[in-house]
């Protein structure tokens, strides 16, 4: 309402300053006002998109217009289902069966006889096995450490980069392309290449380290370092992911709010921590959420770098699941493990959310 009223008087300026190139901009100047309302009348007659809109105005035949109109009327009346429908359809088609399948498998033990699957109910024994599964517990702990460390570091770096790049005056697009190069590489290549870089005898990392006069570092072979080395790779690989999500969000922030803060006396620090970060909260949450899920699913890199070793120092849940479900072909217990991983992910995310809210409140 308000905006519309505002536009009646100063429309074009309003849009100029709020950098919104929207159809309303037309309403500003008197001359164009007529065009705008013409256009909006075309909308009212039933044009769902600009292209249709143009089609409409150029369409000679009123019959054609009516036909188009009734289709779009229908579209508009049931817009909810037209917008959400395709997604629901896709999910029904491709996710329901796999999920039900996993759930059923989790309660069974499955083996093969004469080329046929034989299912047996084995929920209790599977659960008992899970209860006593030490490796899974170790893997869960490692995954949690891995997820906390990598997600926190990546969020901090990604946010910093997003804000820095958005503060640049030019070459933003170039920087965005440059900074997302790591996620373009296939994970299998990332694992192999970093393994080469970490190589104790020949790797570039140790070339640098010894070049600086230190002893070569046993990046992947030492139990205390292996997890850290793997986290470094993860940070390198996935910081661009966070950067990309947050950069888009920073670019979408209302400029004037930040300008107002600058006039109010905010320093860079204040603007970042009191304005930008709170405003980015939705995007930050989404980035953290999906990064966490990805961290719980991490596989290729660790598989190629350490295979979970040495000992169990880099054993993570997905690696263990691979062993059980895939290598050892324990379909039932493996399915239960994947449910356990999902549960763990959810619990982990909820805890993270709690911690975040708690620190915010204090």
């Amino acid at each position: 309402m308000k905006a519309a009223a505002a536009l009646a008087t100063g429309g074009s300026d309003y849009c100029e300053t709020s950098s919104t190139r929207i159809c309303l901009a037309r309403e500003g100047a008197d001359e164009k006002n007529r065009q705008y309302s013409l256009w909006c009348r075309a909308c009212a007659a039933g044009a769902p998109s600009a292209i249709w809109c143009q089609l409409m105005t150029s369409a000679e035949s009123p019959a054609a217009r009516r036909a188009l109109g009734s289709i779009t009327d229908l579209l508009d009346r049931h817009i909810g289902w037209f917008t959400l429908g395709p997604a629901i359809l896709l999910l029904l088609l491709l996710t329901v069966y796999p999920i039900i399948n996993v759930v059923l498998m989790a309660g069974s033990s499955i083996h093969f006889e004469a080329g046929q699957e034989v299912w047996k109910f084995a929920l209790w024994s599977n659960l008992r096995e899970l209860e006593h599964d030490r490796i899974f517990r170790v893997a869960l702990r490692n995954t949690a450490i891995y997820a906390v460390a990598s997600v926190l570091i990546e969020m901090a770096l990604g946010l910093g980069l997003a804000i820095l790049v958005s503060s640049m005056r030019r070459m933003k697009g170039f920087m965005r392309t440059l900074l997302i190069v790591p996620i373009l590489l296939p994970p299998v290549a990332i694992g192999s290449m970093w393994k080469l870089m970490y190589s104790f005898d020949f790797g570039v990392m140790n070339q640098v380290v010894t070049g600086l006069g230190f002893q070569p570092v046993n990046w992947l072979g030492s139990t205390s370092l292996a997890l850290i080395s793997v986290i470094i790779v993860d940070v390198w690989h996935w910081t661009p992911f966070v950067f990309l999500i947050l950069f888009a969000a920073v670019e979408g922030l209302p400029t004037e709010v930040i300008e107002a803060a600058r006039i109010d006396g905010a320093r860079t620090y204040d603007i970042v921590f009191k304005i930008i970060i709170p405003l980015l909260k939705p995007a930050i949450i989404v980035a953290a959420l999906f990064r966490t899920i990805l961290a719980f699913k991490v596989f290729d890199e660790i598989f190629l770098l350490t295979s979970g070793g040495p000992g169990n120092s880099t054993e993570v849940v997905s690696l263990y699941l691979y062993q059980v479900f895939f290598e050892q072909n324990q379909l039932g217990y493996g399915a239960l493990l994947s449910l356990a991983i999902i549960t763990a992910t959810i619990v982990f995310i909820l805890i993270g959310y709690r911690v975040k809210s708690a620190t915010e409140a204090s």
């Binding site: 309303l24 508009d76 997604a87 999910l91 994970p187 299998v188 290549a189 020949f202 888009a248 995007a283």
Partner: protein
């Protein structure tokens, strides 16, 4: 956004250059390896006479279908990205702006999230069955469908965050002025979330481009994608680092190009919707 001046600007530029270097250096290193013979890579030699041997092998050896793999990947990633942007953005808009019953919205979002958490290992078996039953096995179409589904959760959640950042009243004003919901969406909201749309598009593209587990299972040699091809260089006994580096470099180039033009396409499409 942030305006840096004086010292802080210098520090900012320095930090940015440093991080750009750290991020790009390993990639450059990989690119460097692609011009070396395997033994030079293994020995960590820095300066050697460059050879195109790895590229020749990746592209034209008898075993290789690399160009075909790239083409497959371009089709799969391109089509699935466009589709997931359409489906996902509509769904996100729907959830962010229309009045849905709580349980529908929450149920939908929770379901996508849980689905996103499922280890892909447990998905491929059932999918293999589904597509075999409907006779789409080893077709690119099946792969496109699965990639849309795989990337849908992230797209929906991201786009929802961006839509929620938009003030509602701009859109409401448009509707008061006679725009339909769908016009308000197309001409008002969508152009405003263009940066988000690009981010979501880039991510969906990248994830599809690099997706391995499903692509491996649902394709045959004729429909295999780039990651499947690249994985062949990581063998049971050794990694063919030179070829893998060359293949990685080769696979990023079309991805970068496609992303670049994709961005242009999105921006153009949106400005057409918004201004013309």
């Amino acid at each position: 956004m942030l305006v840096l001046r004086g010292y802080s600007r210098l520090i900012g530029i320095f930090l940015l250059t440093l991080s750009a270097f750290i991020i790009v250096a390993p990639f450059l290193w990989v690119a460097l390896q692609s011009f070396k013979y395997e033994i030079q890579i293994l020995q960590g030699t820095w300066f050697t006479e460059p050879t195109l041997h790895n590229y020749v092998d990746v592209l034209w050896s008898q075993r290789s279908d690399f160009l075909k793999n790239v083409l497959n990947s371009m089709i799969v990633a391109g089509v699935s990205t466009i589709c997931v942007l359409v489906v996902g953005t509509l769904a996100a808009y729907s959830l962010a702006r229309l009045r849905w019953k709580r349980w529908i919205a929450a149920g939908f979002l929770a379901w996508t999230l849980v689905f996103n958490m499922i280890p892909p290992l447990t998905l491929v078996g059932p999918w293999f069955l589904i597509f075999r039953e409907i006779g789409l096995l080893q077709s690119l179409f099946a792969l496109v469908l699965t990639h849309i589904t795989l990337n849908l959760p992230m797209t929906v959640w991201m786009m929802m965050a961006y839509f929620n950042e938009l003030p509602r009243d701009i859109e409401e004003a448009a509707m008061v002025d006679g725009c339909r919901r769908i016009d308000a969406f197309w001409r008002v909201s969508l152009p405003l979330v263009a940066p988000g749309l690009i981010a979501a598009g880039v991510l969906a593209f990248v994830f599809s481009w690099n997706e391995f587990a499903v692509a491996l299972n649902l394709t045959s040699r004729a429909t295999a994608t780039v990651p499947v091809a690249i994985a062949q260089f990581s063998q049971q006994y050794e990694v063919q680092n030179g070829q893998m580096a060359a293949a990685s470099v080769l696979s990023t180039i079309p991805a970068l190009l496609l992303m670049f033009f994709g961005q242009k396409f999105i921006i153009q499409g949106l400005t057409m919707g918004a201004v013309k």
